[in-house]
């Protein structure tokens, strides 16, 4: 059976992880029809998906995350995965299971779990300026100042709304998981337009002083390359960036350090990347779709895919012994935060595209102008309200 897979896994480790899946699928006698649509952080792929669905010809499997899964499921476009979901309830942390379910049924299968609130530090540079891994923003700026003084770019940043938002999210979380939940996930106007949020924007403003001046349009992987090559000290990016480091032959703890962002200890912001399966001609799930779903959920792929992608397996039964130190820490944190309530979806996962876009508009505008923090907070509240 031809299984057309629409995805935007086009960079680095992503494409290798996808290739693993492809080989697995072809081993059991199906044909993987690759529909990669790069660009725009998946926007192009989503445009294609919409027109495909509307033309009555959706791809069989689609890379998807976040509330989009529920949206599509509510449109009755997806096939339920009851046939393969078995005891996923026991294997997945509830916070993650929730994003895959609609109306009590699983509609998505998770590939792996990303932790977003990571930061990467170029170890030689940190050593050069005699710093330690910062755990608060004050500590962070102290180290950053030293790097700046030594003539380095302190923060490697990619000037895209996407990276801007990723950076912003970390600051919000440093104000506490409840604040994050209220402000970002629930879009609470009061929280969004609070003094705390003003403080967030202040930190954001201060951070921009440590960017270099060529950020505009730089993809995140090039920002990662700056840290890899020693051109910059810090990178704020999810664990997928680790793939870039390992692809460059860098070893955690030796060449670079991965650490939780300042003020983020005890918080795990996740992105559960997954696939959903579109009904063909409005009918039942095809054999290929179900087999692909179970392949993804198999410990073998969970292990290898997560490794390539720099993520961690979503299923708690998969051993992570073979992972690097960063991933081991993430896996441990996953379990502990799941218990403590610190496991929250990243905004990419936890908000609608509309809200996400509204947040990005305000944040990216703030970074690229000299707006003051108070009015940015007010704008944010207004924009999120309008988009809800």
């Amino acid at each position: 059976e031809d299984v057309e897979v629409l995805h935007y896994y086009t960079s680095g480790g992503e494409s290798r992880a996808v290739n693993v899946l492809k080989e697995d699928l072809e081993k059991i006698g199906h044909t993987w029809v690759d529909s990669a649509i790069a660009g725009g952080g998946g926007a192009n792929a989503m445009t294609v998906l919409k027109t495909r669905v509307i033309s009555g010809n959706p791809p069989k499997a689609v890379q998807m995350r976040g509330p989009a899964i529920q949206d599509w499921a509510s449109q009755d476009a997806l096939v339920p995965l009851d046939a393969v979901s078995g005891d996923w309830d026991n294997l997945l942390p509830p916070a993650i299971a929730e994003v895959l379910k609609y109306d009590g049924h699983y509609y998505g299968v998770v590939n792996w779990v990303h932790r977003v609130n990571w930061m990467y530090i170029n170890k030689p540079m940190l050593d050069e300026v005699g710093g330690t891994v910062p755990t608060t923003w004050d500590e962070f700026f102290a180290v950053a100042d030293k790097m700046k003084a030594a003539g380095h770019t302190a923060i490697a940043h990619g000037g895209t709304p996407y990276h801007d938002a990723v950076y912003f999210e970390g600051i919000v979380q440093s104000m506490g998981v409840d604040f994050y939940r209220k402000a970002i996930l629930e879009g609470d106007a009061e929280a969004l337009n609070s003094p705390t949020m003003v403080q967030v924007f202040d930190i954001l403003r201060k951070s921009t002083e440590y960017f270099d001046d060529a950020t505009q349009g730089r993809p995140w992987n090039l920002a990662a390359a700056m840290v890899i090559e020693g051109q910059a000290g810090f990178l704020f990016m999810g664990d997928w960036a680790k793939g870039e480091f390992s692809a460059a032959g860098k070893v955690p703890g030796v060449d670079y350090i991965c650490a939780v962002r300042p003020g983020n200890e005890g918080i795990f912001t996740f992105i559960a990347d997954g696939f959903v399966f579109f009904k063909q001609n409005g009918g039942e799930a095809t054999e290929g779709q179900l087999e692909l779903a179970s392949l993804i959920a198999s410990p073998d792929f969970q292990l290898r895919g997560a490794q390539f992608k720099g993520a961690i397996p979503a299923l708690n039964t998969v051993p992570v012994d073979s992972f690097d130190d960063c991933s081991k820490k993430a896996a441990a944190d996953l379990q502990s935060t799941a218990a403590s309530g610190g496991l929250v979806p990243s905004q990419n996962q936890g908000t609608t595209e509309a809200v996400l876009g509204a947040i990005r508009d305000v944040v990216t505008n703030f970074i690229n102008s000299d707006q003051d923090s108070a009015s940015a907070a007010a704008d944010l509240a207004a924009a999120v309200q309008a988009a809800k």
Partner: protein, 285 residues
């Protein structure tokens, strides 16, 4: 030559030359980048000449660079584009020419309204009609196929082609049709025997224009294609966005040039006729 005249000539050439350099700069940069190796890229400036003619990046972009999970380079996309472009250019030019002929030479009550109505199709932003178009193609069972793309590209090219041809045929004396009708020829025969043979200049303009536009189209190409029918612009987009750590600018630029090569060639070969055709018909001054 008088000295003031000489100064004027020098100034003219200086200005023209200056702008020629500016116009060529991006092409030059892209070209030399595509001929460099990665280490070379890191050391020199973008203006520096490559150390040698190194077509490795071209080879990689053509046949082995990864675009998503597939690592076949641009090759498969290239052929898709060819399959899409050739029929749509031919069909849209043919329809445009016969429309233009009917509108210019067989004016009837309402023909101006029809012309304006058709012309409007040229001005709409295409993002606005993506979804209904997708639904329609789905109804025709042509969604995400090359025939579907051909239909879309043809349909949205008709307005412009019709305008070009109409403006060209309007300049022809109405007596030609009259003479031929008296000679006993009908609508199609007059078109086929009399107007088509004198339409070469405007056909050149139309074909060049349509070719570049359809070849370069990304929006329709990405939205209405399926995995087996993606045009080269989509391939280029995937390739440029697919990266392993270090961005291979030489491969990206080579890919961009491969993508642009057919249109550049069409312009270089047909450019003269393009201008001539424009002078002959499209512009009235």
């Amino acid at each position: 030559m008088r000295p003031d005249k000489l100064v004027a000539r020098i100034a003219i050439y200086a200005v023209l030359g200056f702008f020629a350099l500016i116009f060529l700069a991006p092409l030059y940069v892209v070209l030399v980048t595509s001929l460099k190796t990665l280490p070379e890229l890191r050391v020199g400036t973008m203006l520096a000449l490559p150390q040698g003619l190194n077509f490795d990046a071209w080879g990689k972009a053509w046949s082995s660079a990864c675009t998503g999970a597939a690592c076949n380079g641009l090759q498969p996309f290239f052929m898709n584009s060819v399959y899409i472009v050739i029929p749509s250019v031919i069909i849209s030019s043919m329809i445009g020419s016969i429309n233009g002929y009917a509108l210019a030479q067989w004016r009837f009550p309402g023909s101006e309204i029809i012309f304006t109505g058709l012309l409007f199709g040229f001005f709409i932003p295409f993002q606005a009609i993506l979804l209904p178009a997708a639904q329609f193609l789905g109804m025709l069972k042509l969604a995400n196929t090359i025939p579907g793309l051909i239909i879309i590209q043809t349909v949205y090219g008709i307005a412009f082609c019709t305008m070009l041809f109409r403006n060209y045929y309007v300049a022809m004396p109405l007596e030609l049709v009259k003479a031929a009708r008296v000679d006993g020829a009908g609508f199609f025969r007059i078109f086929w025997r009399i107007f088509l043979p004198i339409s070469l200049p405007i056909f050149t303009v139309c074909v060049i224009w349509q070719f570049t536009h359809i070849w370069n189209d990304f929006l329709f190409g990405v939205v209405f294609s399926g995995p087996e029918s993606r045009p080269i612009t989509v391939g280029l987009n995937n390739l440029v966005n697919t990266s392993e750590g270090v961005k291979e600018y030489n491969v990206d630029t080579a890919a961009a040039l491969i993508t642009a090569l057919p249109t550049l060639i069409v312009y270089i070969i047909g450019g003269r006729y393009f201008i001539r055709g424009l002078t002959a018909g499209a512009v009235k001054g």
